[in-house]
């Protein structure tokens, strides 16, 4: 992706055009991933917003020799994982007894407008344990290798492969269950 290399280079030189182009090019991919990982529109929007803001501030320090899209997707996955941990902690501590409400309605302030299909799949994927959900989505939708996912999650490749296998099995039983209904 020669275009991405030029964009990164221009961005590192301080080009606002390059930042606009990167934003326009990848914002939907990032929102899609965040939506399916968090199953919560406002969390997803926060995650992508934060990823872009820290990216915008990182021109001087950014050390990126690989794929820009994958880098941004990994940033989203990392933030979604942290957010998920924080949400779980809040729920275990009893600080947030109210169930997280999935924002479905479209408000003027809402950034992301999800299709029915995306909502349906977010609801399906949320039934998978987080690690499995992330692995399946990053591998199948973001095209990441198990090795790369393992690096990003800080676990072994075998663990990632296991999560993937279990994730697919669980997904299969959910989908088969849907058909039986």
């Amino acid at each position: 992706m020669l275009e991405d290399k030029v964009l990164i280079w221009k961005f590192k030189c301080g080009s606002s055009d390059a930042l606009c182009r990167i934003y326009e090019k990848y914002r939907k991919d990032l929102l899609r991933l965040a939506a399916i990982l968090s199953n919560n529109s406002s969390d997803a929007e926060d995650i992508v917003h934060d990823v872009f803001v820290s990216f915008a501030q990182s021109a001087e320090t950014l050390k990126l020799s690989g794929n820009l899209k994958r880098f941004l997707l990994t940033c989203v996955a990392n933030r979604a994982r942290n957010k998920n941990r924080a949400n779980q902690r809040r729920q275990t501590d009893g600080l947030d007894e109210a169930k997280s409400v999935i924002s479905q309605s479209k408000s003027p302030e809402q950034w992301m407008i999800q299709s029915e299909e995306l909502r349906r799949w977010s609801d399906i994927m949320v039934q998978l344990p987080y690690g499995q959900r992330e692995t399946v989505i990053l591998h199948l939708r973001a095209g990441m290798k198990f090795r790369q996912i393992a690096q990003s999650q800080g676990v072994s490749v075998n663990t990632v492969k296991g999560r993937y296998r279990y994730g697919l099995n669980k997904l299969r039983s959910i989908l088969d269950g849907e058909v039986e209904k």
């Binding site: 992706m1 914002r27 939506a35 021109a59 950034w111 939708r141």
Partner: protein, 427 residues
Amino acid sequence: MRSAENIEKIVKNLNLDIDTNPQKDQTVLSELLDAQKRSMKQQSALALPNIRRFIMKSPMTKFAVAAVVVIAVLIGVNPFSNSKTSIVLADVVERFESVPFFRLTIYLGYDNSDEAKKVEIWKSEDSHVRAHEGNKVIFADFSNNETNIIAFDRATKQPINNMGYVSMILKELCSQGRFSLDTIINIIPSEDGITSVETADTAASKETVVFEIKHKETPEWISIWALRSSKLPVRMCFHDPRNNEHGDFFFDYSEQKDAKFFDPEAFTNQAQEQPAKSSSENVLNEQEIIDVLERWTVLSGGSFPSSLDIQTIKDIDPNADISFLYNGLKNLNGAINFETPFATFDRDNPPSQDEINKYFDSVLFVLSGRFQEVLAEMTDWHYVGQGVKLGDAYTAILWFRPKGSEKYRVIYGDLSAKDVKPENLQK
């Protein structure tokens, strides 16, 4: 009961449509630009931007060096198994470095788009480089360790920001102080992985050998055609199936440019001498014709217009790229002192579509008016560009005889120009 493969296929092929609220998009984008500005200000307080400093600090540079080492090892151990004359890619890389001068023409684009970006790079015997990319003329000096890259606007001859494909390629090359093929190869893949080199089935050609370079983890590929006899590369192309990005590189070793061509001072002095020249001097006018033709064609979708008059210029999509129009206007404004609100157009605060539509007629006026004015200074001009694709180096689209000249100037579909004797003009 679905199989695991079936589930994989379903998830992979899901059409998960998503849209964004344009107002919110604008808000987020402004926030990002603010964040970027603040961050850049803090950094510039420490040190002013300096291209050379950037080059030496860049992690991409370090990557390029590391990647070159890897590929050098790889290409050295991949023998050409079915060869009539045994050549490995390392031979081609080495031979290319020993070439005193060359011209490299690059076409970059996407499969589904007619628009191709053309880039030309010339290298001199004493390691000076000149490149043309759109309206930019870029000079680089590889002759000593202190490598400099300077860019100028082709029309105004003023120094400009030198960011773009050429600058990036040159920057990578600068990191090694030499113009090497392996560095060009390594600029292309988007991953910092190891590439494998294979020799393609070359039974079809006794003259050439083809090397196919593949990335281990991504689907990108690069092919290099080299002559068996001289081991010189003649063509290189790459393709990235993920976004259909492709590039074609053509190497030419026949034309040696003089030292003046590579001298940035000579280039800028030419600008200062320009006003003293009579209007019949064809250099500036020809360049203007080419510049306008290029913009006109790109804005028309990549094919040259059917005729050169106001009617066809009106076919240009009013929603065409703003900055492209703006740059064209800026150059032409310099020539005829015409002013539109776009002349003060601020990229961070772009005009609304209504404003663009309002002044679009002015844009057309400037383009067509100036074009006719320039053409009127030429004698016996003929335009036959209808339907010719931008980048077609073999089809003449326009020829004219500059005043006082015996020969005709012929402009081709790739916007190159040559002197042709009247008797040699295509019938």
